[in-house]
């Protein structure tokens, strides 16, 4: 017996398709987005009670269209808008597709939506909020809860983001090929930020909010299905899977952070590691354009394959970081490379790599530099130096679990001479 997907999952999957269909027919991204949310809400109330329609997608398109036209009709400039809508609607706009038959444009519609939500005119927090609502099908209340802000604040942020997209004069089309790469990079960055927000929880008591990491993986999977040949999309998906696989080992029973070297690796999710490793291996073998997500995924795969920190192929990790530093130069990459170099050539070699970062404006006062330095000083046996660096790092972080971890490391060294 085939089990039907949960109503909620089905609605979330259909949300971008329905929105895409509406925007394509009527224009009005802003009003269409509201209408789709109303249709999703109506479905979540009606379907469990009255049964699921034969063609859920067509049902949603019909209900959302009705809401949209009601809304447009009630607007002041009724006459003018209706004319414009009628002129824009293609002849087949009112014909629903046969059950089970997804129109060929769904793929492009979802992609176009993602490009629109990750529009360069928006700040990253606005891109994230809009993407989660318009493409992810999350309600404003759910997004607000995930980011720990009042619902009214999030509603306002989303509404302003929509106005900005409109003001930027963007159209509901795929960007021209010349811009496609850059725009896709922005989409991937937003998905990466959603994942990270869930995983690191810059502003949360628990280190990860699984709903956000799960949502990021789901959306990245969808993009990967649409663009299976793009190496960076595959690389990002692999990176997420290989990182998410360590989730249950990442925190101790008291909720405290457990660093990679001390994690109980038997708690890692083997199935996710297998999927991520397979994906990154296949991609690296076929890619024509090696990008930062693929390299980071490869690094995560090396860690995930090792049975312990000592068993890790550190020369391989160091080589990959050197490659990453060349492909996407960034002081954060240098930090990670320093750790790998310390594991292969000793702590002093790692500390030497850190020295130039003190003068790098992008790293000024960044707690990660102090944290890595503390770790390497501890390896080198410089207890006093390590303690001071751990304290500096603890003072610099704005993540509560991280501060607890760093303060704990400093305290652990206090007794030592």
């Amino acid at each position: 017996m085939i089990r039907e997907p949960r109503v909620e999952d089905l609605l979330r999957r259909l949300a971008p398709q329905v929105l895409g269909a509406l925007v394509r027919r009527y224009g009005h991204f802003d009003a269409s987005e509201d209408a789709v949310q109303e249709a999703l809400l109506a479905a979540s109330v009606q379907w469990p009670r009255e049964g699921r329609p034969d063609n859920p997608r067509a049902w949603l398109v019909t209900v959302a269209s009705r809401r949209l036209t009601d809304h447009l009709r009630s607007e002041q400039s009724r006459r003018r808008r209706e004319d414009a809508t009628a002129a824009r609607a293609p002849a087949d706009a009112t014909v629903a597709p046969a059950p089970g038959e997804a129109p060929a444009t769904d793929r492009d519609d979802t992609l176009a939506l993602l490009f629109l939500c990750c529009h360069p005119a928006l700040t990253p927090p606005s891109q994230i909020a809009l993407t989660l609502r318009a493409v992810g099908g999350l309600t404003t209340a759910e997004i607000a809860r995930a980011f720990l802000v009042p619902e009214a604040t999030m509603a306002q942020r989303i509404s302003r983001a929509k106005q900005k997209v409109k003001a930027a004069g963007s159209t509901f089309d795929l960007p021209p090929p010349a811009e496609r790469g850059e725009r896709l990079a922005a989409v991937l960055h937003v998905l990466y930020l959603v994942f990270n927000e869930g995983y690191v929880a810059t502003s949360g008591p628990d280190l990860r909010r699984a709903d956000l990491t799960g949502e990021a993986v789901r959306l990245t999977r969808a993009v990967h299905r649409m663009l299976p040949d793009d190496g960076e999309v595959a690389g990002l998906l692999a990176l997420m899977l290989l990182t998410e696989a360590r989730r249950s080992a990442r925190t101790g029973p008291d909720g405290a952070l457990v660093p990679l070297a001390e994690q109980d690796r038997s708690r890692w999710d083997r199935r996710m590691i297998a999927e991520g490793t397979e994906l990154v291996t296949r991609t690296l073998a076929t890619t024509s354009r090696l990008g930062p997500y693929q390299i980071q995924a490869a690094i995560a795969a090396v860690h995930d394959e090792a049975s312990s920190a000592d068993d890790t192929d550190w020369p391989q990790v160091a080589a990959l970081y050197r490659l990453l530093d060349r492909v996407a130069p960034n002081p954060m990459v240098t930090l990670n490379r320093a750790v790998a170099v310390a594991m292969t050539s000793g702590p002093q070699a790692g500390l030497d790599l850190l020295a130039p970062l003190d003068d790098d404006a992008r790293m000024a006062g960044h707690h990660r530099l102090a944290a890595v330095r503390a770790h390497l000083l501890e390896m080198a046996g410089d207890t006093a130096g390590a303690r001071a660096a751990y304290r500096a790092a603890a003072a610099g972080t704005t993540s509560l679990p991280e501060r607890r971890y760093l303060t704990g490391r400093a305290a652990g060294l206090s007794g030592a001479r």
């Binding site: 809860r145 802000v149 009214a152 604040t153 306002q156 810059t202 502003s203 949360g204 008591p205 501060r403």
Partner: protein
Amino acid sequence: MKYMLLIYGNEELWESFPPETLAEVIRDTDALHEELRASGEFVGAWGVADQAQAKTVTVQGGAPVVTDGPYLEAKEYLGSFDIIDCDSLERALEIAAKVPFARHGKVEVRPLMHEAAPEA
């Protein structure tokens, strides 16, 4: 990132405001809150009741002990605070500069680390 804007002052300062200045500060404060509401950066604003209403709780030998105060020796006290959620420290400082009390007292800006959500 969320930031707390702590607005400091003292009774002497607050009492020294002529009525028109007070009215102006209140009007500008409302306007700032409205602006932040519209930009989706506003989490909330709270006034802190007078020091005379402060209580301090300690637990001694397993039993709570409540005392009045502290009546701080400090020259300036916390009068009110805003919590905002914005993109960067630069933006938080820009908003702090718009707080009308920054023209009279001072506004301290502190990044917030969320300790616990209201619902699990």
